[in-house]
């Protein structure tokens, strides 16, 4: 194959545009930029209205610029408390569902075993179940088991509906992977754990990252299921929904903006710090596929 590469061809590590060159060079990035802008349109509105100075209860018409909301929000435990709960729940949910989901994903793609069909069913059905039914049935479970509802029950529910999304995402990554690299590592004397840590994990990392992002978004945004099994724990979506009866205060936008800014900064920093290591990992991964 490589023999056919003419001398003037770029080396393989440089990504060549597989579509029409012009399309790929101008249209695609432009399209992506527009799409990202589209995704951010409501966020821009949220950020703008975090600086609004509404006189009444409703924060829907622009009434003047102020920074005051960014100070007053800290004196509002009624808003920050639920937000903190939501972040904790989403973080724990993400970790648990990614571990459990990745294991299932690996098992489904790497091993032959009995019951694969039923397992597929088990993965897809929760996604197809209306949330109100998920919530109500879980509540029934907790009531009959006489378990107080609160953060643990919320996490359990969120993990339950996130696992499916993780498995499906991870499978899209693992399927079709060449196992030769792992086999090579084993042949060279690495045990299974080392092979997993040094070879498999880096290979499937993008899948895990994507799944983690999905889980976090699903968990931090969930309203219906949570509302049933929250007990006396309030989460951000619950609070905001209830608040909408009276008018969502600008401090809610402030918190949304801050979370947004924080996540953004963290990732940029992480990218800057972890750039070199990732480059190495990727080089490894590419070789693995060769």
């Amino acid at each position: 194959m490589t023999a056919a590469v003419p001398a003037e061809r770029a080396p393989a590590t440089i990504h060549r545009p597989p579509l029409g060159a012009r399309l790929s060079r101008a249209v695609l990035p432009a399209f992506t930029a527009i799409a990202v802008a589209y995704l951010f349109l409501p966020i821009a509105v949220m950020i703008i209205f975090s600086f609004n100075d509404p006189l009444g209860r409703q924060n829907i018409t622009w009434q003047g610029f102020t920074l005051e909301n960014y100070l007053t929000v800290w004196g509002r435990p009624d808003i920050t408390g639920p937000m903190l709960n939501s972040i904790i729940i989403a973080t724990v949910t993400t970790v648990i569902s990614c571990v459990l989901g990745t294991l299932i994903g690996l098992a489904l793609t790497r091993y032959q075993f009995r019951g694969r069909g039923s397992l597929n069913l088990l993965i897809y059905i929760p996604m197809a179940t209306p949330e109100v039914i998920l919530g109500a049935s879980l509540l029934a479970l907790w009531v009959s088991a006489d378990v107080q509802r609160g953060m643990p029950t919320i996490v359990i529910a969120h993990v339950m509906f996130c696992i499916s999304f993780v498995v499906v995402t991870i499978r899209a990554r693992i399927s079709g992977f060449n196992r030769s690299l792992e086999e090579a590592a084993m042949d060279l004397g690495a045990d299974e754990v080392t092979t997993f840590r040094k070879v498999t994990l880096p290979l499937i990392f993008p899948g895990i990252l994507a799944a983690a992002l999905l889980s976090f978004a699903l968990s931090i945004d969930d309203y219906v299921v949570t509302s049933f099994i929250a007990g006396q724990t309030s989460t951000f979506p619950l609070w905001v929904y209830g608040a909408s009866r009276f008018g969502v205060p600008p401090e809610v936008n402030v918190l949304g903006t801050l979370i947004f800014a924080f996540a953004f900064t963290m990732i940029v920093l992480q990218i800057l710090w972890g750039r070199r290591r990732r480059a190495e990992d990727q080089a490894l991964a590419k070789e693995g596929q060769a």
């Binding site: 018409t61 009624d78 509540l139 029934a140 009959s144 378990v147 609070w239 009866r245």
Partner: protein, 451 residues
């Protein structure tokens, strides 16, 4: 609460349920439906879990209504005991305060000190009585909150709340199902002395046996004259084809159906099934003709303020806010055909663990020192005598002290949050629905809002 033994119980419960279902299918005995919110009674003597060996090891399962109640009437069907029955928890609580009380309310429904984030009126209450209030903003929606606490109430478990704050129609449902305790009025002297007459003996709870009002408002019509081009006076204007596609309705069944009944000249309280059918038909015809832009919850506010709808069902306090801050054009009117008074209420759910403290807190809200700061912050129709007068006085004081914005806000509350006598003349009661009626009304309404 999340110790390992809970987990063990769960695993046991899981196997019990699986086994039970297996047995249930085989033996034609009922499945463990008793453990669902739906199933307040499994309705059979041979409940599955008693038949499985796992029960002894899982005391938790015996908490399920279906599993314990061999006779369905005991815990299972509270409505047979609508008045005393289930709630024969002593109506007179222990005179001593426990020092704490847990209260479920809606978000943003209390005054907040925006510096400290504390609740000044609740802190003052604690100073006075030594009772600490666990103030929980746990109600986001009446139906959802009901869905959340119903299984516990049906099973006879405590909900964890000492006071809950549902809206009127939900009050009626909770009473009907026997989920709440009758109130001992001798423990509510301030309430007896200071409640406004209009709030006495409400439709949803005759004689205020189970509930006392928290805050209230009027359901009428909000409209934008520049968009309608004419004055709006009655509910039938909402059905005028001239406004097709620019009309908003409430997605809350009881509000919309009651207003439609009124427009047919029927007081909701006297509505026969035929009246309801006629009102529903009228709404359905309009709905099918595309008269209504949407059925709104709270978001009708945005639609009216932005001009997406020209006229819509609306709450009084909201529209005056909108006029002041978001859209000066909008108007509120109590339709000639009649408006509705909605009331959110404080209630004592079954299993409340600190009833004495709950009484103290409920009664506290009927003192001016608590009710006035509350109203000045949240701006709703207070059921307490003298609040509107005091708010007006405070508005003047603020103006004199050179705080015009705050003074305007207080003036607006004093003026618009409290309906005039004339307005109240034309405000009607909802109907206290039986379960059967509730089902009929809901079925008719579902057809109207589901296209």
């Amino acid at each position: 609460m999340y110790e390992p033994n809970v987990f063990r119980r769960l695993v046991a419960l899981g196997s019990v349920l699986v086994l039970a279902v297996g047995c249930g299918i085989a033996g034609q005995s009922p499945t463990p439906g008793g453990s669902t919110p739906a199933a307040t009674t499994a309705g059979s003597s041979a409940t599955p879990s008693t038949g499985t060996p796992g029960t002894s090891g899982t005391p938790g399962t015996s908490g399920t209504p279906g599993a314990t109640s061999t006779s369905p009437t005991e815990t299972g069907s509270p409505d047979t005991s609508a008045t005393p029955g289930v709630s024969d928890v002593p109506a007179t609580p222990a005179p001593t305060l426990a020092g704490q009380v847990t209260w479920a309310n809606w978000p943003l429904y209390i005054d907040i000190d925006e510096e400290t984030g504390g609740y000044p009126t609740l802190e003052a209450f604690q100073q006075q009585t030594g009772v600490a209030v666990a103030y929980q903003e746990d109600i986001n929606d009446n139906a959802e909150f009901f869905g959340r606490i119903q299984p516990d109430l049906a099973a006879g478990n405590p909900t964890g709340y000492d006071i809950i704050t549902p809206s009127d129609w939900m009050v009626a449902r909770l009473i009907r199902l026997g989920y709440v305790q009758p109130l001992d009025k001798s423990l509510l002297p301030n309430y007896e002395a200071n409640v406004l007459d209009v709030f006495r003996d409400p439709w949803y709870d005759p004689g205020n046996q189970y509930s006392i009002p928290w805050q209230a408002g009027i359901v009428g019509i909000g409209y934008n004259p520049t968009l309608t081009g004419r004055e709006i006076t009655t509910f039938d204007d909402l059905l005028d084809p001239a406004f097709a596609g620019r009309v908003g309705m409430f997605s809350e069944m009881i509000d919309t159906m009651s207003m439609a009944l009124l427009s047919n000249g029927v007081a909701p309280e006297d509505a026969t099934p035929e009246d309801v059918q006629a009102a529903a038909d009228k709404l359905l015809t309009s709905a099918q003709a595309g008269q209504f832009r949407a059925f709104y919850g709270n978001d009708y506010y945005d639609a009216l303020a932005a001009g997406d709808v020209a006229l819509t069902m609306a709450w009084s306090g909201d529209v005056s806010q909108m006029q002041l801050y978001d859209n000066p054009d909008v108007q509120f009117v109590v339709p000639e055909s009649g408006g509705l008074l909605f009331v959110d209420n404080m209630m004592l759910p079954n299993g409340a663990q600190h009833p004495a403290d709950a009484y103290a807190l409920m009664d506290y809200w009927y003192t001016l020192e608590a009710a006035v700061p509350l109203t000045e912050y949240i701006g709703y129709f207070s059921p307490v005598e003298g609040v509107s007068e005091q708010v007006a006085i405070d508005a003047q004081a603020e103006r004199d002290a050179g705080h015009p914005i705050r003074a305007d806000r207080l003036d607006q509350i004093a003026r618009d949050s409290f309906p005039s006598e004339e307005m109240l003349q034309n405000v009607f009661n909802y109907k206290n629905l039986s379960e059967e009626e509730e089902r009929q009304w809901n079925d008719l309404f579902n057809e109207i809002i589901t296209g």
